[in-house]
Symmetry: none
C-alpha cells in the first residue's frame, strides 16, 4: 500500500511517515498543498491523507478537485480539534474519513487499511510495480505517467508477471497461463513477447524492470 501524506508541521510529518512505514505502508510525505496536488494527480495512490490547513492548495480544495475529475481515491482528512464545520464539508465532498489532530499513528494506519479495503471492490483493478501501472478496467498501461500501447497478448503477459512482482516464471508456466495450452517445446514465443515488452517498457528508461534468469525464466520488478 502506498499513500500520500500532506501535513505542514514537518515534525509531525516525519514522525507520522516513520510510524506508518513501520507498519508496512509506503508514504510519500509533502508539506505543501500545490506539490500534493501535483503528486495526487500524477500517481495512483492507494489513499491520501490530507491536512486541511496547509500552505498552497488546502486539503479540501485538493479533495474537491479530485472528485471533480472523477478520481475516487480514498481520502482521510486531518483537522484541528476545533474546526467542526470543515469536517462536515469534507465528508460532503467525498472524504472517506477524518481524524482530529493530534492522533495516534497506529489509529491512522488502521483507518487507512479500512478505507483502502472498502474501496478495494471498486478500485483493485490497478496493479503497480515501481513506476509501472496497469489499469485492468481501462486496459491501459503507463510508465512514469506516460501511456504505453500494448497488444492483447502483450497486455496479458505483462499482467501475469505484474501480479507477482519479483517472482520468476518459467517459460512453460507463462505459456500455460497466457496462451492457455501446453507449449510446443520448439517455439520461442515467450522470448519474442518478452522482447517486445522490453522494447516498449524498459527501452527509454534507465531502471530496467524486466529481469532474465538464465535457464529459468523471467520476472518483473521486485529488486
Amino acid at each position: 500500500m502506498r499513500i500520500l501524506l500532506l501535513e505542514d508541521q514537518t515534525k509531525l510529518l516525519s514522525f507520522a511517515k516513520k510510524g506508518l512505514e513501520e507498519q508496512g505502508i509506503q508514504v510519500d510525505a509533502v508539506s505543501d498543498g500545490d506539490e500534493a496536488w501535483e503528486m495526487a494527480t500524477s500517481t495512483p495512490y492507494d489513499a491520501l491523507v490530507l491536512d486541511i490547513m496547509v500552505p498552497g492548495r488546502d486539503g479540501l480544495s485538493i479533495l474537491r478537485g479530485l472528485r471533480e475529475k472523477r478520481n475516487a481515491v480514498p481520502v482521510i482528512l486531518l483537522t484541528a480539534r476545533t474546526t467542526l464545520p470543515e469536517k462536515i464539508e469534507g465528508l460532503n465532498l467525498g472524504a472517506d474519513d477524518y481524524m482530529t489532530k493530534p492522533f495516534f499513528v497506529e489509529e491512522l494506519a488502521a483507518r487507512l487499511r479500512t478505507v483502502a479495503r472498502r474501496k478495494a471492490g471498486e478500485a483493485n483493478h490497478l496493479i503497480r510495480v515501481e513506476d509501472l501501472a496497469m489499469d485492468l478496467l481501462a486496459r491501459k498501461v503507463t510508465r512514469a505517467g506516460v501511456e504505453i500501447e500494448l497488444s492483447t497478448r502483450e497486455f496479458e503477459l505483462l499482467e501475469h508477471l505484474m501480479r507477482s512482482p519479483g517472482r520468476v516464471f518459467g517459460r512453460m508456466q507463462i505459456y500455460e497461463h497466457v496462451w492457455g495450452y501446453n507449449m510446443d517445446p520448439e517455439t520461442n514465443l515467450v522470448e519474442v513477447y518478452i522482447q517486445r515488452l522490453r522494447a516498449k517498457i524498459d527501452k527509454d528508461y534507465d531502471k530496467k524492470l524486466f529481469r532474465t534468469v538464465r535457464g529459468v525464466g523471467y520476472a518483473i520488478g521486485g529488486a
Copy 2:
C-alpha cells in the same frame, strides 16, 4: 449507509438485499408499496430504491408524494427494459437516477454511493466526458455545444459507455446491458452501433473519444 429497497419480486429482492449488505449497505427490504410509503415517511434513509411496478402504491407515486412533502432523499428507480417514458417521468419528478432490470448489484451499490454523496436537491442528470455531454432528462446529446441526433439504441449504448468513462466493455457485456438478453455470438450489432456513434460523434472532431481495444471491446474517453 441505510437504504430502503422496494421490489415485488421476492427472489430478486432478497438477492439484492444480500448483495448490498455484503458491500456494507444496510437494507430494509419490502415488497409492498404502501408499506414502503410508511417506512419512507417515518425513517430518515440515506437513499431509496423503488421499483415502479409494485402492488399498493407504485414507485412513481411514492416519489411524487415525498417530493411534495419537500423530502429530498435520493431516489433510484427500477424500471423494466421497455418502459422508456417512465424513466423520463421519474427524473422529472425528482428521481436521482434509474436502473433497468435486470441489473448487477455492484452497479446498484456504486450508484447508491454516488447519489448519497451528492447533496440532496442538486440531482444531476448530466453525464460529461470531455466535451461530450448527455442530458438524461431531455435525452439530448451535445458535443462542443452542438446537438447530436441519436436513435434510442444509439442513446442507450452511449449512455452505458459514458457512465464509466475510460472503462473497456466487452461486446457481451454491452449487449446484455443495452439489449438485455444473451448475445447471439454470430451477430455484429455492437460493432455496427459503435460505428454509427463514431460517425456522429467523432467524425467531425480531431480528438477521438471512442477507443477500440482489439479482442476485448470498446471504451469512451478516459484521459
